[in-house]
Symmetry: C2
DNA sequence: TTGACAATAGACCGATCTGTCTATATTGTC
DNA sequence: GACAATATAGACAGATCGGTCTATTGTCAA
């Protein structure tokens, strides 16, 4: 046993697992996890059915893995975006990131919100991912409001969470103006 | 032609159409419009398939009608809730209504947001309903902030819309605390 | 060369989906 | 009682769903 000699695709190529995740990401995010069937994912990924079930076991797990990768990427993305901003300014700067996201071509709201509202089974593996990411956001908001030196950092952090949710949900329906509106109020809140 | 002699069910009974709408409302809202099939609605309504297609033509139209009735009821509900509150206080009072909604047993987020995110076809009849209701909310927020005499009523109204969306979306995932958080910031905004 | 492994292609299964259809029962009006 | 309208019950069709299975191909290591 042992001696993992794993290594199939040449470094320049993308392995089947990643192709499946890429396809799932595009389709699930754009159209929803219930609207997109396995066959569409396979066609988009140019992969075989057996590969999907070999790597993920079932569709629910593919959905969870898609969400998981989304959250990992988002965290890295946000941390990088804020790296050059002094901690005391990060709370507000974060809303610049939100505005940019809402204005991006493929923006279609929050994948976590979508998935939670589509998959009502409380035991679905994707829900744990969503919950974890929510916690990460809450923690970051507390960090940023504390660093900002506002009067009530915890209440302010919770309010920023509401503004974030509202920015994303509102932008999905009404366009990116809602994200700017959220930033406007966030600035007011952090200044007062 | 003419002489509508319509009148089937006795006044004390509920007609099939309403039974279907009631069932659709419960199931679509609780589990999502894609997760619930026609047969589940029929069983819940204790109705025949032909009745559904006689009254609504297709599932998409049933979904639109369910949303339409939701919005009509919500408008009446909110207006009644605020009737005794002086116009200048209605913006804040509205967030009491939101908190109460988020705390209600069957709360599961915003039916408009859910439907828009599940039905990505821009031409879907349900989307027009959702859009109309958003406009109604925006208009009301402008009324209330104007009556409140705040400095920038339009910007404030847009910010309240964000808080509303954030309250509802956040409460769906994290619980009704998010609605209270939104109210907290709304109060701050309307006071300052 | 051989054997293990990862991947593809696609038939197949049973369940479920929306929607159509026929047949039958009930009711109010003439 | 006859008729039209409304409702029920449920078979049926065609598509799609998630998931299993077999057969085949290509590649690396021994």
């Amino acid at each position: 046993m042992a001696q993992k000699t794993r290594k199939r695709a040449k470094p320049s190529e993308i392995g089947v697992r990643d192709r499946l995740l890429d396809a799932a990401d595009r389709l699930f995010y754009q159209e929803g996890v219930r609207a997109v069937g396995i066959d569409r994912v396979l066609a988009e990924a140019d992969a075989a059915k057996a590969s999907l079930y070999q790597h993920f076991g079932c569709k629910d797990q593919l959905v969870a893995s898609y969400l998981e990768r989304r959250t990992v990427d988002a965290r890295a993305n946000i941390d990088a975006y804020l790296a050059d901003t002094p901690p005391s300014q990060r709370a507000l700067k974060f809303f610049d990131w939100v505005v940019a996201w809402a204005e991006s071509k493929d923006f279609r709201g929050c994948p976590l919100q979508h998935t939670v509202s589509e998959l009502t089974d409380a035991a679905h593996p994707a829900r744990a991912i969503a919950h974890g990411q929510r916690e990460w956001f809450a923690e970051r908001f507390r960090e940023w409001t504390t660093a900002a030196g506002v009067k009530d950092p915890k209440a302010t952090a919770r309010a920023l969470m509401v503004l974030f949710d509202g920015a994303v949900a509102g932008s999905e329906v009404d366009g990116p103006q809602r994200a700017s509106d959220a930033r406007w109020l966030a600035k007011k809140l952090l200044a007062g």
